[in-house]
């Protein structure tokens, strides 16, 4: 960042006249890297992909305007898109609540522990630092229907052994399990929030005769609702953009009966898959996904007014 060389850095000692540049100029100069990046890598691509979504574009020849054709085809004639859309929504509906419940549950347990907290916290966090590809392979192996650890254990106990990676019903739960295993970041955020709940509130509730569950419901939950909302919003956006797990665990084609084909995987296939290069069509997929995420996020923000508690007078 040395290219931003403000004249004031070479202030000559003893010189009384202030050589500071006008404050606003300095402000704009310091944020200029972001402004350039925003224009080139966010604003331009954002509008460009909207434009491409109304065109037929294969990179080699210039884009050809075709109006709503891409969207029409996508929503009415494409066989795979509705499958990918449904898979993505079902995955998010399974993953997000389970992620919140697991990471909050573990955080509550850790928060109660007076000793060895750091040790357990590390154990629960380790899966989160395992790279996504390694996590994907690990779970495909553990949940391998024939020889995997889970199914051989289930069989030994004479329990039914699901066809995790080969049965269309079980492919999404397989991914959900691998992702919930990596819940460490959510757990740490909840833990920090729980530690921020003032102890005297619990004492006051206790004096009022509130039991353990009542204290959790009327003290803990409202006071950590800000974090719960943050985790819910971000994990929803992440879940709707699921790509790597589906691509790696199910050999990029979407698994048995396309049960692990997600929107971003389908977008990727149309844009970069060999023989496709349908940049216009893929942009339309991106925009449908974007609108879905936007609607869900706005709904979450609206609903949050009802259940998220904001500290009065903070900041």
């Amino acid at each position: 960042m040395t290219d931003i060389d403000l004249p004031a850095t070479s202030a000559i000692p003893g010189q009384k006249r202030r050589r500071l540049p006008h404050e606003a100029v300095a402000g704009y100069l310091t944020i200029s890297p972001w402004i350039v990046g925003f224009l080139v890598f966010t604003a331009f691509p954002f509008f460009a992909s909207l434009y491409f979504s109304f065109t037929k574009y294969d990179v080699l020849s210039s884009p050809e305007w075709i109006g709503f054709e891409n969207y029409q085809r996508l929503l009415t004639r494409d066989r795979l898109f509705p499958i990918a859309l449904k898979n993505t929504l079902v995955y998010a509906l399974m993953y997000v609540p389970l992620h919140i419940v697991t990471s909050l549950g573990i955080a509550l347990l850790l928060n109660e522990a007076a000793r060895a907290k750091g040790f357990f916290r590390t154990l629960f966090y380790l899966p989160a630092i395992t790279p996504a590809i390694a996590t994907a392979y690990l779970w495909v192996w553990i949940l391998n229907p024939n020889d995997g650890l889970v199914n051989s254990t289930l069989r030994a106990l004479s329990l039914p052994a699901p066809g995790w990676t080969v049965d269309p019903f079980w492919t999404k739960p397989t991914i959900v399990i691998s992702q919930v295993w990596s819940m460490g970041a959510g757990m740490l955020m909840f833990l920090a929030a729980l530690q921020g709940v003032p102890k005297d509130l619990y004492e006051a509730a206790k004096l009022d005769g509130a039991g353990k569950f009542e204290r959790f419901r009327s003290v803990t939950l409202p006071l950590i609702s800000g974090i719960t909302f943050f985790v819910a919003t971000v994990s929803t956006i992440n879940a709707l953009g699921v790509f790597t797990q589906g691509y790696v665990m199910f050999d990029k084609d979407g698994g048995p009966e396309n049960s692990a084909l997600f929107i971003v995987m389908y977008l990727f296939k149309r844009a970069f898959g060999s023989g496709y290069f349908q940049m216009g069509y893929a942009s339309a997929i991106a925009w449908v996904l974007f609108l879905i995420i936007l609607i869900i996020t706005i709904a979450q923000f609206r609903l949050s007014k009802r259940w998220v508690y904001y500290e009065q007078g903070s900041d």
Binding site: A8, Y28, F38, V40, F52, L126, T130, S152, F230, T233
Partner: protein
């Protein structure tokens, strides 16, 4: 969005988890007093650790014992690791990944901190509106900008080079800008005001006063970015197509088919996964404090 994110840092005001733990004092209950809790914790932590143990164990088993599913192999072998290094240019991929990660880290730390400094410490018209824009880009799904971004790099002739994998970081990253700005608010105004009186310019204040004082936050940003780039799969998948330029993530993904043909697929895949994971484990244990507090206080990953 601003109030949403503001809520993510309550513990920052209350002190770090470490301090709170010390405050618990000498009268804290022992493990025996809380035995039902510890039994539960032990059970759950076993559920979370066993898959990890299984990963390492499988990688150390003789290939013909992999399917036995026994927890105690007849012998511990390193052959799977040797096989991985023999069939694939793992060192080369590791070097590629390291180069990309280091470039990405250096550029994102300096650009994001400079931008954060501007937003935290300098007044200019439109500042809060522009900052709201920074935050909103954080919630923008990457899929929307994916294709035009590819076309930009394609136009620049940078496809199948490492440029698209790190150079975007030269322009700062929304989340890190937000996080560093929060930290810069904690730098005492008196310090920067005094420097101004002494004739230091804005850039010198940023470089000599603000940056050293927010060093823990810079370390956290560096770790997060290193981890993100080490893990990234989709970007190299889109931009890199010659095998000697692959990153570890991309190389590892290309393994699967190859290993299948070699017959000892799982043992080798697990060995390769361990190789891929070890640097992250090292990073984690070296910088555990920054890791934990960074994640806890900022909500990077959700």
């Amino acid at each position: 969005m601003a109030e949403l994110v503001a809520q993510t840092t309550p513990a920052q005001r209350e002190g770090s988890p470490e301090e709170i733990r010390k405050d618990a004092g000498p009268d804290k209950p022992s493990i025996r007093d809380q035995w039902p809790l510890y039994l539960t914790l032990f059970g759950f932590s076993a559920l979370f650790s066993l898959p990890f143990a299984w990963l390492v164990l499988t990688s150390l088993k003789p290939p013909d014992e992999v399917f036995d599913n026994s927890w105690i192999p007849s012998q511990i072998v390193t052959g799977n690791y040797q096989d991985v290094f023999n069939v694939a240019p793992v060192w080369r991929w590791m070097l590629n990944t390291a180069i990309i990660s280091v470039l990405a880290v250096i550029s994102v730390v300096f650009s994001s901190s400079l931008v954060a400094y501007g937003f935290a410490r300098i007044k200019f018209p439109g500042r809060s509106q522009l900052f709201a824009l920074v935050i909103s880009t954080y919630l923008l799904p990457g899929a929307v900008t994916l294709i035009p971004t590819f076309l930009i790099w394609n136009k620049l002739g940078a496809v199948n080079t490492i440029w698209p994998l790190w150079a975007g970081n030269l322009f700062g990253s929304a989340f890190y800008i937000f996080m560093l700005r929060q930290f810069m608010f904690t730098v005492p105004r008196d310090l920067t005001d005094a420097a101004r009186v002494d004739g230091a310019g804005y850039f010198r204040i940023y470089w000599n006063i603000v940056l050293p004082l927010v060093r823990p936050a810079l370390v956290a940003v560096a770790i997060f970015e290193f981890e993100a780039k080490w893990n990234d799969f989709m970007t190299p998948l889109i931009y890199l197509n010659s095998r000697d330029k692959y990153t570890l993530a991309l190389g590892l993904a290309s393994f699967k088919e190859q290993f299948k043909e070699l017959g000892s697929q799982w043992a080798m895949l697990m060995a390769a996964s361990v190789i891929f994971t070890i640097p992250m484990i090292l990073l984690f244990f070296l910088f555990q404090r920054y890791f934990m507090e960074g994640v806890a206080h900022s909500g990077l990953k959700g």
